[in-house]
Symmetry: C2
Subunit: 336 residues, 2 copies
Amino acid sequence: MTAISSPARRDSALTATESLAQARSVATPAIDAAVLRLCPTLRPAVCDHLAGGGKFVRAGLVLASAAAAGADGRAGVVGAVAIELVHNFSLIHDDIIDGDLERRHRPTLWAAHGVGHAIIAGDALATLAFQVLLEEPTVERVRAAGRLAEATQEMIAGQAEDMALELRACLSVEECLHMEAGKTGALLSCATGIGAILAGAPEPTIEALSDFGRHLGIAFQAVDDVLGIWGEPSVTGKPVGNDLRQHKKSLPIAIALARGAALPSGFESMLERELTEAEVAKATLLLEQCGARQETLAIGELQLRAALAALERVPLSPGPRAELAAIARYVTERDR
Amino acid sequence: MTAISSPARRDSALTATESLAQARSVATPAIDAAVLRLCPTLRPAVCDHLAGGGKFVRAGLVLASAAAAGADGRAGVVGAVAIELVHNFSLIHDDIIDGDLERRHRPTLWAAHGVGHAIIAGDALATLAFQVLLEEPTVERVRAAGRLAEATQEMIAGQAEDMALELRACLSVEECLHMEAGKTGALLSCATGIGAILAGAPEPTIEALSDFGRHLGIAFQAVDDVLGIWGEPSVTGKPVGNDLRQHKKSLPIAIALARGAALPSGFESMLERELTEAEVAKATLLLEQCGARQETLAIGELQLRAALAALERVPLSPGPRAELAAIARYVTERDR
């Protein structure tokens, strides 16, 4: 599925794929080395979780941002490691909270090893991120660690709002966007921001790259929301209508609720009770028919453009700048 | 119950009580200010948990260590806040893992607000500790943050070992002490160590105060282990025989198992299955009779002495040094 169309799709996707593959090959050995510092009791479950893969979008953003801001060599690697550790900590805890049994076509950590083990495995990864950044406390790494702590807190706030919204019958588009800016935007903004920080870039560059990441995060989440309702289960690795079943108040829902009168009267109650297969299919169709899918993608498209515009605000190395743009297009075109 | 006797008990206990009351009155407003940075959705549950009180031993150790190492005024306060935040994060997550319904005579956070809410409330407090230390990144605070990350990882490792031991039928006294040094010793050692770090103390002072905290942590845990089996429920706020019911492999159990032949043949199997009231009482009596209670207290006494000896290794301000010694005696004499 092409979530957001783009004329340069084929070429940019190819470049983004290469860029993320490179990020994976650079970050993986460094993450593996960091994980060796965890206690032997926790390591097998953590390695099992990490072996599931992932897209390495956040590592790729740190490394490309550092390069775009003029870093030489491996300055960004420690940031890529720290961001991926925090990202995986959040996945492990979110899977417990959402009761998700599978991720990346494998049992989630809590499903395989128990809730208690998953709680402390997540705690261990979050802590490890700060250990990695603070063990050689240069000015840049210390600033990156402070930035990561702030972003992690924003991400947690987004997750808390998300949970609170699941229990409510209604929400506005603004509330939803605020929650998603925290849940996804904060860490992506941190990824591109600390890339620039670790490169020793000037303030305007750090700000422009942070803004790029924040807008991209919201676009990323808009696509995630579309996939959560219309994604192909065999590709996403999640059951059909997962978000509807779990009463997730995502962007398509907020948009549909804002339509109010245009929706059949039974729609709102479907957001609160257990749904049958047929009802999930019906709700999905209603969301499509009221234009919620198209409008969610339009919001994503707008945020993608704002992200790309931020890249033009400051001087950046042209190659890595193109790489960042390519990653941005790629993640808003993904089908998983 | 006087867990570990001491000739100077009455006077030192009084001084320790005053010292901890002062730590509470200094740390509480600073913790409250930090908690305002959490998202409004999480704050009520966190405030509810914090309102339960606690002994403020860790805050007291940071502040007294900073003063003993010559800090002027409020240099240690930020460390006291960070340590108490990490301590409370660990309590909130441990209560989920252990399935404990009550703490400090009140429902635990997960029991009152659900597991998901408790997971992210704990995550938020852990993250807040690093925000607090890194927002004004002086050399001392950065070093304190690095030390806190290492200690938090050690504490998590101790908790992981503790959980793994619950599933095993046997353990050695050494394994148990190693686990307890991580679970409790790491954070107490960090408390006294960062007190010295924030005071700008020389290396030998930082090391001596860290050693004091580590030995004290093991002594503290030995007393905790005794209270977990023989504590008075109306005072501890935990049910009778809580540790035996939960198959906690604490020091008295490790000591009893080391006695081997001296125990009745049914004892080992009692560590693995559901116990009736009568069986809990029987196991408690067997542990007492084989000397496990006395030997646990003797280990605590030995560690307390090692802690006090560490205080004599370096020059310290006499008043705060006496305060540290008083806190050490107080926490190893406590009945809750």
